[in-house]
């Protein structure tokens, strides 16, 4: 139980770290939204699953938090990207 929790927790935080690194490294607002949504959502879900393996009696709260994260984070990011695009923020075009 402890070992499975460790694996999930570590992989989740690695994904969170990679998402934050993408937020630094990406050249454009839209790319940053991409990094900050996909990797961070997956990482947070994996981290919460790891904590579920540490404390199995908290399953209700953790399931609700995962549900809310899964619904809210992509929605807010897509609304944000749509608003940015309609306001005419330029897209990065220097791709090779």
């Amino acid at each position: 139980m402890q070992l499975i929790g460790d694996i999930f927790f570590l992989s989740g935080t690695i994904f969170l770290f990679l998402g934050a690194l993408g937020l630094i490294r990406m050249p454009d607002v839209y790319n940053r939204i991409q990094a900050g949504t996909k990797a961070v959502t997956l990482g947070s879900i994996l981290t919460l699953m790891g904590i579920f393996f540490y404390f199995p009696q908290w399953w209700g709260h953790l399931c609700l938090i995962i549900l809310f994260l899964l619904f809210t984070n992509p929605v807010s990011s897509s609304a944000l990207a749509r608003a940015f695009y309609r306001n005419g923020i330029s897209v990065w075009t220097k791709t090779k």
Binding site: F9, F17, G19, L48, H61, L69, V75, S76
Partner: protein, 84 residues
């Protein structure tokens, strides 16, 4: 706390630090809004991690409120930006 958990918590706080760095050097205000949006999710995860460290389940309620409500401000911001 085992060594794997320490490494994982360190990675978590490093990612918070990276998001703060993006907030500081983000060239436009759009980048800063994106950084704040990511930080709200990271804050939820950090709250759950703190609840696990403190071994107390009442801190999970705060994370629940945070994950449920943090996106309403962002959606309102996007809505207002679109009206302009």
């Amino acid at each position: 706390m085992s060594i794997i958990q320490s490494i994982a918590l360190l990675l978590l706080f490093l990612s918070v630090l990276l998001v703060i760095i993006r907030f500081i050097l983000g060239p436009g205000s759009a980048d800063r809004i994106v950084a704040a949006d990511s930080l709200s999710v990271l804050g939820t995860v950090v709250l759950v991690g703190l609840a696990a460290v403190l071994k107390n389940s009442i801190y999970l309620d705060i994370a629940l409120v945070y994950s449920a409500l943090a996106f309403i401000a962002i959606v309102v911001l996007a809505h207002i930006m679109e009206q302009k």
